[in-house]
Symmetry: C2
Subunit: 278 residues, 2 copies
């Protein structure tokens, strides 16, 4: 599996593929590869002939108090796992290739970037829409695959790609979970051994809410009760647990309309997020 570090080199590989008529899939990641990422590679492989994994820990989506420095970095291991899952190219640029001196342009998805995660992580979603717009324009792939685990991020990326007329189909891939329902995430490693057994309760909580809401229950008291139970079972803080319209992430419009349960909560040093279709 080949590794390229410059946009030009990636474009040259893609141009060679294009000349043979091959289609191209892109899977942007920040590394810390786990089974969730591998499923993205597989989904991309089902929709394209050649799959590019990208590995870039994007500084612009971290606040100063977040874990940019601590974020797991093990390129050799990531490379091997991407290759086994079926990727044929790794694009792993240094920071100055993505943000050269004087880079000042931001791609901002208004509204959608300011609610939920946007309230707690003000830079995160604009950092994502900026770097992903760049990666999409760099590769001009036929499809790009992102995990539904970061559901709001996926909606922001869909909106950005549509609004900027980027001709790449954005695919969401289902969340991959541990035995107890915990959504796989590079940040799960911040859980202590004592905390880990409780982490599955976030998934249980949103599952219960999704089921009851689908059956017509009012989600607001359900979410309030779930928040209390999470705190009682050892979660340090619940940033939000809520049912929203699945497309706009604004207020849920009730039975018969698309709904999504979304939650973010702190267990020790780990901020867990998860979501589920109603």
């Amino acid at each position: 599996m080949r590794v390229v570090r410059s946009i030009n080199d990636m474009r040259n590989v893609i141009a060679d593929w294009r000349r043979t008529g091959a289609t191209v899939g892109l899977v942007p990641t920040m590394g810390g590869v786990h089974a969730g990422h591998l499923s993205l590679i597989r989904v991309a492989g089902e929709h394209s002939d050649q799959v590019i994994a990208t590995l870039f820990v994007n500084p612009s989506q971290f606040s100063l108090d977040e874990d940019f420095d601590a974020y797991p970095r093990d390129e050799d291991k990531d490379l091997q796992m991407f290759g086994e899952a079926g990727a044929s190219l790794l694009f792993a640029p240094p920071i100055e290739e993505i943000y050269p001196n004087g880079h000042v342009t931001k791609v901002h998805v208004e509204g959608l970037s300011s609610l939920l995660e946007g309230k707690f992580r003000p830079q995160y979603l604009t950092g994502v829409s900026t770097v992903v717009s760049k990666l999409l324009i760099q590769a001009m792939a036929d499809v790009a695959v992102f995990g539904e685990k970061d559901y709001q991020q996926l909606q922001v990326i869909r909106r950005m790609a549509r609004d900027l007329d980027i001709p790449t189909v954005i695919l969401g891939a289902p969340t991959i979970r541990e035995y107890d329902g915990l959504a796989m995430s590079s940040r799960n490693r911040y859980l202590s051994a004592a905390e880990r057994p409780h982490a599955g309760r976030l998934f249980s909580a949103i599952s219960d809410i999704a089921r009851a809401t689908a059956e017509g229950a009012d989600p607001i008291p359900l979410c309030n009760a779930a928040e209390r139970r999470l705190i009682e079972s050892g979660f340090r803080q619940v940033d939000y647990i809520t049912v929203r319209d699945a497309n706009t992430l604004e207020q849920y419009r009730g039975p018969g309309t698309p709904g999504r349960v979304l939650a973010a909560a702190w267990l020790g040093k780990a901020r867990l997020i998860d979501n589920l279709d109603v």
Copy 2:
């Protein structure tokens, strides 16, 4: 000369050209075509085999108190002039093709969009960088040509295209002027017959400043004196007249560094802007 109104139709024409090996040039305009626009078409034709003119009066770059409704619209005349100058395709989309329902993404060039014009027209440059990023991504042309008359806009577009890795070469084309130096502009039609003879004084003023600054004079007193003289000769208001670094539009760094004189001033109902190399 063919006219298309959808992004898809434009992309299909371009794909046909690409299959023959042709290169493509793009000239985004808001119509109100004059000799300045025609020179952009000609410059594009010198750098590419097929030239697309676009005609779209972009609402997002007008403030509510600006002249969106009054902006000149005469597609038949524009079409004929573009064709005579050598364009082979006109892309003239309706508003909903560029901003469909739910469009919320903004492309913002920080810093560069907030100074000079940005102080007086807060929405203008973000409106421009957003719509131009879309047009560039839609066409993926080899070159795109913009007038130096809107110098700050040109610098914003250059920066945006570089920052988003859009693989289109951005070319600036020299300002085309009337007999007395007045820069050609669709908005010159807002000048009354009585005002028109005075309009060339803006060009005289920046010419004098450019020449003296190039010879080593301090531009600040020159600009202050020029502002007074413009007001004395009938200009209603001078928004700015200043010498700046030609690339960043921040403070001019003195002799031997790239400088640009930039000015904006009101004569009656017309806001004239102009600029000149030091």
